[in-house]
């Protein structure tokens, strides 16, 4: 409990946290703005064009913002200690070491889960309000049918935060961890989409952003990602993204000279 309250205080007593939270929730406004522009364009279009017009689920698009911001929050939670040297004070206070990273994971995980959920549901409800029955009723799907996909997508924000924390613990460098995070999340998927079959589908299914739709069992209509995993396997892959780097980082933290 004391470790949690210490790490909670650490994270809330620096300015970067507030900025990253603000940016994360800015995604809701971004989503609403895109919805408003799309609705305007739809209303100005001819009936023939309207019949074929389609729109992506905006909340699943703008979630990239909280994903990245909370990923950076996770990275900074540990790399800022290495950059300033505070890590040596932290480890001197807690020589068993693993509780430091475990408490960081709990705090960062809770903050990002809450932020991700607010962002995904906030964007969804605003966009649904704005789009209404436009675009062949994309937003007329009942909420309960969308709920599994939305919840799983919100969860990816938490996965990004823990992935960032794990990468930060492994690399001990802000720049290094953010580079790997962006690479894993956005650069590799671009290349995977260009691979020949069956690699494209097999690897594409493993990308973080492909996992929520495989967990909910509602595949994207068109996507660069694959959809070959059953829900349970998709859950396992998502959990692996969150936990494997943190666990590896914990092992290194315990065995490496600080």
């Amino acid at each position: 409990m004391n470790m949690l309250s210490s790490e909670w205080l650490k994270i809330r007593s620096v300015r970067s946290t507030g900025l990253l939270l603000l940016l994360s929730l800015g995604a809701i406004l971004l989503g609403a703005a895109i919805a408003w522009m799309a609705a305007g364009m739809y209303d100005d279009a001819t009936p023939a064009k309207r019949a074929t017009a389609s729109i992506a689920e905006l909340e699943e698009v703008v979630i990239i913002v909280p994903q990245l911001c909370m990923g950076i929050l996770g990275v900074l939670a540990i790399t800022s200690e290495y950059a300033t040297g505070v890590i040596r004070t932290s480890l001197t206070a807690v020589p068993r070491r693993w509780p430091v990273l475990a408490a960081k994971a709990a705090v960062v995980g809770a903050i990002s889960l809450l932020t991700g959920s607010v962002a995904i549901f906030g964007t969804y409800f605003l966009a649904r309000q704005v789009i209404g029955d436009r675009f062949s009723g994309t937003y007329l799907t009942p909420f309960l049918d969308r709920l599994p996909t939305l919840a799983a997508t919100g969860l990816t924000v938490c996965v990004f935060a823990l992935l960032g924390l794990g990468l930060g613990a492994l690399t001990r460098s802000t720049a290094g961890a953010v580079a790997v995070l962006v690479g894993l999340a956005y650069v590799i998927p671009m290349f995977v989409g260009k691979l020949p079959s069956p690699w494209k589908d097999w690897l594409g299914s493993m990308m973080i952003s492909a996992l929520p739709r495989q967990i909910s069992g509602v595949p994207f209509k068109s996507s660069v990602y694959g959809s070959s995993l059953p829900p349970a396997a998709a859950v396992a892959v998502l959990a692996a993204y969150a936990l494997v780097p943190v666990l590896a980082g914990t092992w290194l933290l315990r065995h490496r000279d600080a």
Binding site: L9, K10, T89, A258
Partner: protein, 254 residues
Amino acid sequence: MVRCAADPPYPILDDVIRLHHLTKRYGDTLAVDDLSFTVEPGHVTGFLGPNGAGKSTTMRLILGLDTPTSGEALVNGRPYTTLRRPMAQVGALLDAGAVHGGRTAYHHLLCLARTNDIGERRVAEVLDLVGLTGVARRRVGGFSLGMRQRLGIAAALLGDPRVLMFDEPVNGLDPDGVRWIRDLMRSLAAEGRTVLLSSHLMSEMALTADRIVIMGRGKLIAEATIQELTTRYPTLEDAYLALTAGSVQFGAAR
């Protein structure tokens, strides 16, 4: 000071830092080489040696930050890493710069205090003790080196420990600060605490320390009282320069 050995293999030694054939190798470099000495309570032990002698590495080994290649460093008869609430037993200032510039002094100390079940009242106490109460709510980024040294000392004192280690706490301090550190070190030792203090300022060390441990190239060069050294040499500085003459790795010929 020595109680009966209740639970071997570590005899319980109160308030003592004991190094036993401590060795640390980084790749090809032998940073600490078969180092054995004991730091005892009740006086200030000065820890001297040229740059790169291995003083800071030795302190990191004592605090369990680095793992020894062989040998051991014991605090109160136990390896530091086995201590459960270590801040109540050992306090250390390794690097005054090791603070997050965006955090306030108060929050910096409170984060640390919470990990060892230390209350907010004690945080206020140590802030008062080091004279930072007035700036406690200011971000550390704006602190001078002297203020950071005081903050680092406050952190070391948080758990009211009996064993204290300070790595060059006088660096960057004004004469007031230097005098303050000297008085603080001497009063901590007078309370029966164990104080290990490293510094390059020989005249200051001569005024502060009672005993001296000198290291060079990872090895123990001398372990003596100030009195013993100043009887054999004109000043502590002369003693230091004579004893470390063969161990200076970086410096002009002399």
